[in-house]
Symmetry: C2
Subunit: 393 residues, 2 copies
Amino acid sequence: MKLNKKLYLTSLENKISLKILKLKKESGSHSPSIHTLKEELPELEIKVDACFLSNPYATELYMEYFDKEIIQKNRLRDLLEFYPSQNSVIADLVSKSINVKSDKIFIGNGAIEIIQAIIHRFTKNKIVVNIPTFSSYYDFALDLVDVTFFKLKKENGYSLIIEEYINFINKIKPDTVVLINPNNPTGTYILKSDLIVILERLDFVENIIVDESFIHFAYEDIDFKEITISAMVEKYPNLYIVKSMSKDFGIAGIRAGYAIMHANKVSSLLKNGYLWNSNGLAEHFFRLYSDKIFILKYQKVRKKYIIETQKFLSDISNIPQIKTFPSSANFVLIELPENVSSEIITSILLIRYGIYVRNCDDKIGLEGNYLRIASRGIVENKLIFDSLFDLFS
Amino acid sequence: MKLNKKLYLTSLENKISLKILKLKKESGSHSPSIHTLKEELPELEIKVDACFLSNPYATELYMEYFDKEIIQKNRLRDLLEFYPSQNSVIADLVSKSINVKSDKIFIGNGAIEIIQAIIHRFTKNKIVVNIPTFSSYYDFALDLVDVTFFKLKKENGYSLIIEEYINFINKIKPDTVVLINPNNPTGTYILKSDLIVILERLDFVENIIVDESFIHFAYEDIDFKEITISAMVEKYPNLYIVKSMSKDFGIAGIRAGYAIMHANKVSSLLKNGYLWNSNGLAEHFFRLYSDKIFILKYQKVRKKYIIETQKFLSDISNIPQIKTFPSSANFVLIELPENVSSEIITSILLIRYGIYVRNCDDKIGLEGNYLRIASRGIVENKLIFDSLFDLFS
C-alpha cells in the first residue's frame, strides 16, 4: 500500500503534470527541451536532465578549451561574425582525426541533417527501420517512400537477431536499411563482426545506414578501445556511417556531426547544397577534434564516463520492481511494473525529485511502459538512482 | 605611366597572388574565408574584409548583448551543451518580432539552407534566375530542373525592367522565379510597388522567391523605414520571402535565417525534416530579435550604417577611372578600366593595402572586369577609399 501511494500524483502534482503534457504535445515528435520546461514551468526545480544523452565530463573538457582558446583570446567575435568555412574545408579537419580520406566525409549541421540528407537524396522506394528506435529515421522518409518496420522482440531483449534480420531484408528488398549501433532507446549493441556479416550478405541493398552516434560508449575489450566500421566504406560503396558529436562530446547546442560514405555520394550532396551548413562554433570544434592532445584528454573522460555509466546501469538493474535491458550506450531502457503509466512516473520524477527522464510512450515497437534514463555525472546519477529506488523498492 | 605601374604586380606580389588564386580554386563556388586566408597566407596583413557584407555596428550591439546575457551570466555552457528548441518553437519567437503568424515562418540554418529547402522541395521543372546574381540560386537546382537565366543588361545598370521581365516569364513559363532585392552583386533595387505588380501578373508561377536578405540596407523614404513585402504572403500563396540575419546583424558565424511562406509549405517542409536545424546561439539570437529594446537599439545602428554606407558609395563613385552602379545595398559593384584584370586588382588590394574585396570574375552575366566592395565601419571605409583612390586616380 505504501508503495502504491508513491506512484500516484497528488492533486497539485496533477495540475503541473497536465502542463507538462501540454508542452510535450507542443514540442512535436520529441520531448520539450529543458529550456522550454524551465521557462514555462518556473515552479519546477529541475536538478538532473536525464533525458539528455551525453557525457558531461566531455562537455567540461570542451568548455575548458573553449574558454582558453576563444574567450580568453578574445576570438569569440570572429566565430560569430564571419562565415565559417565550407563543407569540404571542414571535412579536411575531420579527415585528420579519423583517418578517412576527406572526399568520403560529409559534414552535417548535427547528425540529424545528415539523416535527412541521405534519406531525401538516396532513398527512392523502401526503407526498413528496426523498431523501437529514433523516430527521425522513419519520420523523415519522403511521401513516396514505403517505410517498413522490422520489429525487435521483447523476448530477445530488443536485440537484433542477425539471421532473422537478413532473411527479412532478403524478403522485403528495400533500397535502404538503417542500423543504429548501439540502438536508441534500447541500448542494444551489434558486434562489429556481426555488422560485417550483415554488410557482406546485404550487398544488394543500395543504402545501408549505420548510425554510430552512441558507439563511443560501447566497447568490446577491457581497454575500452573505440569501435567503428568506418574503414568498411572502402569496401562497401553502399555504406553510410552517421556520427553525431552531440553525445560523445556533450555539445548538442553547437550542432556538429559527420558522415562517411562513398566519395561519389559526398559529391552528389555537395553539388547542389550544404554550402555553409556548419556554424563558427562547429568549425572550431572540428579543429579541436583534429587536435591530438584534446583527443587524448577526451579519451580519459570517455573511459571515466563509461566506467561510471556501467556501474550506474548495474545499480539500477538491481532495483526490485523495475526491469532493465542490457545497454552498451550511455542510457538504459527501464520497463515499469504492469499498469504503472510512464507518463505519471515521468511527472513524479520531475515534480517530486527534479529529475527529467524520457517517457517512451510515443515510441512505437515497445510493449509495456518504459522510461529511458541517461547516465550523467556521478552526483546526478546518485540522485537518479535514489529517486528510482525510493519509488520502486 | 605612373598610374599603369601601380596596376601591375611586382614579382614578390605575383608569388603571393598565385597562392591566393590556388586558395580561391580550393574554396569552391565562393571566395575563401578570411580565416583560410589568414591561416594559409600569414605573410598578409589583412586590415579590412570588404568581401564581407554586414553591418559591423550591429555585430557590436549583438556582442554587447551576448556578453551581458550569456558570458557574464555564465549561460554559455547551456547554449553549447543542450539541444536547441525545434523549428516551430523558434518560429514563435520570430513571429513576435515580424508580425507574421508563426505557422507561416520557417527557420533555417542560415538563409542558404532555406534556399536549398525551397528549391529542392518545390521546384519541379524550371527555374528562372536573373543574372548576375548569388550563384546558389542556380547551383542548388536539382539535376532534373532546367535553369534559365534572365540577363540583366549593363545598359540598364543591371536593373530589372519590369515589363521585359514579365514578358520573359510569360514566354518561358517556369514553375519558380527568384528575385533578390536588392540584388547581389549589383545592389540594384526593385521598388515595393513594382514587386507587387510582378506578384499580381505572375500569379501563374508556382513559386516566387523574393530574397530580402539585403533589404534592411534599402529605404524608400527619408526616415529609412524598413521595407518588406512579408504581408503579401497572405494574399499570394506562391510567395516565399527569404531573409538572412547574417547581413543586417553581422552574425554569419551563427547561421540564422528565416522564410515566410504559406502555412502548408511550412508544414510540408517540417513534416519530414528540419527538426533541430538551429543551434543554441541562433536560438538565443532569435530571442533578442523578438526583444523590443534590442530592436530599437538595432534601428539606430542600422540608420547610422546606411548613412555612412551611402556617403562611402558616393565617394567611390567619384574616383575617376572606375565606374560604379547605384546600390541600395551595403556594397557597390565597381567596373574596372578596360583591360585591367579584376584578379590582379584583388591581389594588389589585398597584398599592398590589406583590403580583401570580392573579385567578380566568376559571376556569370557581368560584362567587363568587376569588383564588389562592402561598406564596413567608417575607419575601414576610409582605408578602402584611399586605396582605390591611390590606384585609380
